[in-house]
């Protein structure tokens, strides 16, 4: 019994010392996971995930506080990528998140705009150009479609327009198999 205690104590003390040392010597700093998650998020910065932007959402996922299925702009594909990265199962959008919408850009009705600059302040990616009292315009190439500028406009001159399919952005479709009966 005594020898048992001695031996185990010896092992334990050694182990404890190693662990204690390790804890200080090799403290984890920063979380590289956040960057990886953030790289997957679409950077629309829309806040539909209930976090103030993509990075905070990424941080929350990394900390295990948020589910991976809360970003509508990322679509199911985004969820799949997050699931792959984190080694968890794919899950469909939760009931309370907005359904993913087709990609759109904001459009300012130039004749109504009063140049109030409120939308400029709302846009998270500086995609609206214009000076005070002058008409504002959306740089559509830089607009992420987050809709954050729509609400603040006092004259309701901003509308979201679905990006329509043109020859320049047309994509080849997935070939359909005649073999598989499509069950509805």
């Amino acid at each position: 019994m005594l020898s048992a205690l001695l031996i185990m104590s010896g092992i334990a003390v050694l182990l404890g010392a190693v662990l204690g040392y390790a804890a200080i010597r090799f403290r984890v700093e920063g979380n590289p996971l956040v960057e990886k998650i953030d790289a997957i998020l679409p950077q629309t910065q829309c806040g539909q995930c209930n976090y103030p932007g993509c990075k905070p959402y990424a941080t929350a996922i990394a900390a295990g506080e948020a589910d991976i299925n809360r970003c509508p702009p990322g679509g199911e594909e985004g969820i799949q990528k997050l699931a792959d990265l984190l080694g968890v199962e794919f899950k469909p959008f939760g009931g309370d998140t907005n359904a993913p919408k087709p990609k759109s850009v904001a459009f300012i009705d130039e004749n109504t705009c009063i140049g109030c600059t409120l939308c400029i302040q709302a846009c998270p990616v500086d995609a609206i150009a214009g000076a005070a009292k002058q008409m504002h315009t959306i740089i559509s190439r830089e607009c992420t479609g987050c809709e954050l500028c729509v609400a603040p406009c006092p004259v309701d001159c901003i509308s979201m327009q679905v990006i329509e399919e043109k020859i320049s952005n047309w994509k080849w479709k997935y070939p359909v198999f005649a073999l598989t009966p499509v069950k509805q």
């Binding site: 019994m1 205690l5 185990m8 104590s9 092992i11 334990a12 404890g16 010392a17 662990l19």
Partner: protein
């Protein structure tokens, strides 16, 4: 830093000491029942070969360590147990190994009565093909009981083969390697017994660790 390490060490130490103590206590508490269970298990096995009513000694205490012998197929020392009634030898239980099973060694225990007939054979461990070669296992078939009461008869060595090879033992079609191995091993043990009969029964029940003379 050293302090933190120290703190962790103390913590682990604390739980280790408690755990070890608990284990020590458990060990002491279960030591006796475990020994009893083990002996019971052994006895149960032996009594399949030598009926309990046939002996009256403490058979497990009457052990004899045997040096390795080609006839036993063993490469390490093994123990034999002697059954006696009223001090008279009744039977000896030997461990043996059939090295040439289909997929490896087959461990056997073999009881030989004092008169040289087999009390019985049991397979303790084998790796033969399930469903084909494993009929030597009493749990699968009673083929192994075919050895009961067989003995070495002068000039009848040819009997110690499967029927296919001209012997007296049955086999299952499609798997003869396994029975051949078991029969051969048993045959050899009987030969060992014939050679060492006296030493096997000689020693008194007092000293189980005593070596058999060669």
């Amino acid at each position: 830093m050293v302090k933190a390490a120290f703190h962790t060490a103390i913590n682990v130490l604390f739980f280790t000491v408690i755990g070890t103590t608990l284990l020590g206590v458990t060990y002491l508490q279960t030591k006796a029942p475990i020994e009893r269970s083990e002996q019971e298990a052994k006895l149960k096995l032996i009594s399949q070969l030598v009926p309990r009513q046939d002996f009256d000694n403490d058979i497990l205490a009457d052990g004899l360590s045997l040096t390795p012998d080609p006839l036993l197929g063993s490469s390490a020392a093994s123990t034999s147990y002697r059954a006696r009634k009223n001090g008279q030898p009744v039977a000896v239980v030997l461990e043996a190994i059939a090295p040439d099973g289909y997929s490896g060694r087959i461990s056997l225990i073999i009881a030989i009565k004092a008169d040289g007939t087999l009390g019985g054979v049991r397979v303790i461990e084998h790796k033969e093909t399930p469903g084909l070669g494993d009929y030597i296992d009493i749990a699968k078939s009673d083929w192994i009981t075919g050895f009961n009461d067989k003995a070495l008869l002068p000039g009848k060595d040819d009997d110690w083969h499967v029927r296919k090879d001209g012997g007296q033992f049955d086999y299952m079609a499609g798997a003869t390697i396994t029975p051949r191995a078991v029969i051969k091993a048993t045959h050899k043990v009987l030969q060992y017994f014939a050679l060492h009969k006296d030493t096997l029964f000689a020693a008194a029940a007092t000293e189980p660790k005593q070596e058999a003379k060669k």
